[in-house]
């Protein structure tokens, strides 16, 4: 889960960069960048959930 989360973080960032390189109109770029940002948030959520199960610690 943590590895997938990290990969999603990188994928979201790649989407944002792709928006800058491939598109020219501000509205299209913004929509693409927001989508990439949403993918990043999904990855962050997965990463967080992955670590949540390890966070009990020594009692």
């Amino acid at each position: 889960m943590r590895l997938v989360g990290c990969l999603l973080l990188l994928s979201g960032f790649a989407l944002v960069l792709a928006a800058l390189v491939l598109l020219t109109a501000l509205s299209q770029r913004s929509a693409f960048a927001v989508a990439g940002f949403a993918v990043e948030l999904l990855g962050l959520g997965l990463l967080t959930q992955g670590y949540k199960s390890l966070q009990k610690g020594p009692q």
């Binding site: 973080l9 960032f13 390189v21 960048a33 966070q55 009692q59």
Partner: protein, 439 residues
């Protein structure tokens, strides 16, 4: 007595020099906050760790990191992709050879000032994770992680934003305004806050923090007076940092510095009051430690746009940061089970990212559309979460393999002072006598 030099420093450089001299007070403030919010059995360790972090990050940054942070218009590593030349890492001569401490030319002095400010900025970024690792992060790994942060992680993002890297060149390459981060909300605070998140994940919670079914126990800070005093010191340091960075990186000019000072104070005040009101409404009484976090969150969030917003916008930014941090602290501690004793993730990463976004929402710029500025700031936030966080976390996982971050079970129980330093911070106050007896 030698006469005054014939050409005294220009006003902006003199102001910049004076502002940089205030920045170590921000480190002092953060150090007091971190140790005050930790347990008394780790107080001396926390302060010593802060000094070690500052020492290591200064040496490593000046010798190595400054080369990779680079400066605008300086040599850089680039590559071409998608028809664009991506400037991703500075390539200035190592060992601080671009700084001319006795050079007469203006550009040389600017580079010397740049080195001064970024040296302290690297130290500030490296101090922030100490808060998340309080009471269980060992001194050796702290030093190692700080060296890596100051040598590569901080300079990488500093180059992107302040050193003429690709985020500073969004205009030339993509017809967007450049990312604006006048006071280091992203470069310093968010990078340090994301490092703190990674450290909290890797070190795990303190012993006894969570029960088997995930219910959190309150482990209050041991000296809230020091925390509040740290907030006051941090204000002075922050004003210095915001002013110096605005002058150096965004050519704000001396006439804008009064506005920078007013905005820093207003955003901190709004952050504090928002936290006081929210905690009063939710818990019946204001929570002192969360309110202190609100103050720092206001400073963090307000720093990104300190030279480019009106006082009203600075208040809005601080208010939102104060509200945000009260909820983020609770979500991280109670729902995501991230044991972050000083709230570094919420205060520095959360408020730092909000501050970057606030530039796009509230910033007053002579050129570029509001949408363009918002998109540029969003790209910067995406770079921090989507690239810097995985990179920072991978570096921490690797370092944890080389030198385990977390103290062993007995050390956790004894406290870091006894375990790593051999003596407590308050030897005459034997409040944990039973726990100091070796088993």
């Amino acid at each position: 007595m030698s006469p005054l030099p014939p050409n005294p420093l220009p006003l902006d450089q003199l102001l910049c020099l004076f502002s940089i001299m205030l920045v170590p007070l921000a480190a002092a403030g953060l150090a007091l906050i971190h140790q005050g919010l930790g347990r008394s059995r780790s107080a001396a360790h926390s302060m010593l760790a802060t000094l070690c972090v500052l020492a290591i990050s200064a040496i490593v940054f000046v010798l190595i990191g400054a080369s990779w942070a680079g400066f605008a218009g300086g040599p850089a590593h680039t590559f071409a992709a998608g028809g664009v030349r991506w400037d991703w890492l500075g390539a200035a001569p190592a060992l601080a050879r671009t700084a001319h401490f006795d050079g007469p030319d203006a550009s040389g002095l600017s580079r010397s000032l740049l080195l001064c400010l970024e040296m302290f900025a690297a130290g500030l970024a490296a101090i922030i994770p100490l808060s998340a690792g309080t009471d269980r992060w060992r001194l050796g790994p702290i030093c190692l992680a700080s060296a890596v942060l100051a040598a590569f992680l901080f300079p990488l993002f500093a180059h992107w934003v302040w050193g003429g890297g690709w985020l500073a060149q969004l205009g030339a390459n993509f017809h967007l305004p450049p990312l604006v981060d006048a006071g280091g909300a992203g470069v310093v605070q968010a990078v340090g806050g994301l490092m703190a998140l990674s450290v909290a994940w890797i070190t795990g919670p303190r012993r006894g923090k969570y029960s088997d079914d995930g219910v959190a126990a309150a482990i209050p800070g041991h000296n809230i007076v020091l925390v509040m005093f740290g907030c006051l010191l941090a204000l002075v340091g922050w004003i210095g940092f915001d002013a110096a960075a605005s002058l150096l990186f965004y050519a704000a000019g001396p006439q804008k510095i009064a506005g920078v000072i007013v905005n820093a104070m207003l955003s901190a005040s709004a952050g504090l009051l928002a936290a006081v009101v929210v905690t009063r409404a939710r818990y019946r009484k204001p929570d002192a430690s969360i309110s202190a976090n609100g103050w720092i969150a206001g400073l963090v969030a307000g720093s990104a746009a300190c030279a480019f917003v009106s006082p009203v916008a600075a208040i809005d930014t601080g208010l939102a940061a104060g509200v945000l941090v009260t909820y983020m602290v609770e979500i991280f501690e109670l729902h995501l089970l991230v044991d972050d004793p000083g709230g570094a993730v919420s205060v520095h990463a959360g408020a730092g990212l909000w501050g970057l976004l606030a530039v796009g929402l509230f910033g007053r710029f002579p050129d570029g559309s509001r949408g363009g500025h918002l998109l540029a700031q969003l790209v910067g936030i995406a770079a921090l979460i989507g690239f810097m966080l995985p990179l920072i976390h991978a570096a921490n996982l690797l370092l944890n393999r080389l030198m385990p971050y977390r103290v062993d079970g007995d050390g956790d129980w004894q406290g870091m002072d006894i375990r790593e330093l051999g003596a407590g911070a308050y030897p005459e106050f034997v409040v944990h006598a039973d726990e100091f007896v070796p088993r």
